[in-house]
């Protein structure tokens, strides 16, 4: 890509990444949540890859890192759900942490944690699919 696109991407990608984190962390207060924020996080990475080409991020050779993050995130989601079962409530997805005052950042028990792990999982999934397509194209061209 040209210098203009690269420079604009350098300026914007970090802000997009921070916006995704904001959407995920405030998922229980404002519109958004794990799914929306995760897609925005993946979008910032895809922006970088599109502007700077395949060689810029070294993880492009293998998508191993993103797949590991994806699987660990869904595993953590399951373990959090299971913890409600083991903590005495006896219900899958029991929200047994103290709820706090509604409207504050640290409140609502497990919901922010669920949001964070679902955000990681969605971001890693979409990035993995994009990387798989990029690697497929490189292998075709060889």
């Amino acid at each position: 890509m040209t210098v203009i696109v690269k420079k604009t991407t350098q300026l914007i990608a970090g802000i997009v990444f921070l916006y995704g984190i904001y959407i995920i962390l405030h998922g229980h207060l404002t519109p958004g949540g794990g799914f929306a924020g995760g897609v925005i996080l993946a979008g910032s990475f895809i922006l970088l890859i599109l502007a700077f080409g395949s060689d810029f991020l070294h993880l492009l050779r293998e998508e191993r890192g993103s797949t590991i993050y994806e699987n660990l995130a869904i595993l953590a989601f399951l373990l959090l759900a299971l913890s409600g079962f083991l903590a005495g409530a006896g219900i899958f997805f029991a929200n047994w942490l103290p709820h706090g005052t509604p409207g504050e950042l640290v409140s609502a028990g497990f919901l922010p944690l669920y949001n964070i792990f679902v955000g990681i999982e969605v971001a890693a999934s979409i990035l993995t699919i994009f990387l798989a397509l990029v690697i497929f194209k490189e292998e075709i061209l060889k």
């Binding site: 998922g27 229980h28 897609v39 998508e63 997805f93 409140s107 994009f130």
Partner: protein, 176 residues
Amino acid sequence: MELAISVIVGFMILGAIYAIHARDILSAVIAGGIVGYSLVICFILLKAPDLAIVQIVVETITLIIMVAVVLDSSRVEAYGKFDSRAWVTSGTAVLILAILFWFLKEASATLAPFGENSMRMADAYVNGAVDRTGSVNLVTGVIFDFRGYDTLGEATVLVTAVLGVLTILRIRGKKI
């Protein structure tokens, strides 16, 4: 507001029809984008900003991937011959559509009239969600607390989709 939504839905139908009949696949993909972005405006008008955020980002990423795929392959649509196998497939499709429409008609006879939904479940969700979950955003309270199994299923669907993509898009095997 109903007028605005009707106009936008008209645009969506026009875009979809153009996407079917376009000769150039690139213009068909972009015309398909009309449907997605109009849906974003519909979601905002219907006061669903959660869905609007997801839809606008997913639509953009999908459009980027589709445009990249079209630019790397062919821009001309491949037409096949209309032989006997095509007759069988089209006949099956029409038959299944007719059966589905018949069942839809039968099922919709027992539903509440359009616009007068019964709020038996939704009342409990809307009125008690903040006390029970502690989440101010009602949507998050519903999808992670009341409907946690649904969210687990959605996340599992994503994992399965990634597994499928990685299985199909591998030419050389990975060295272990």
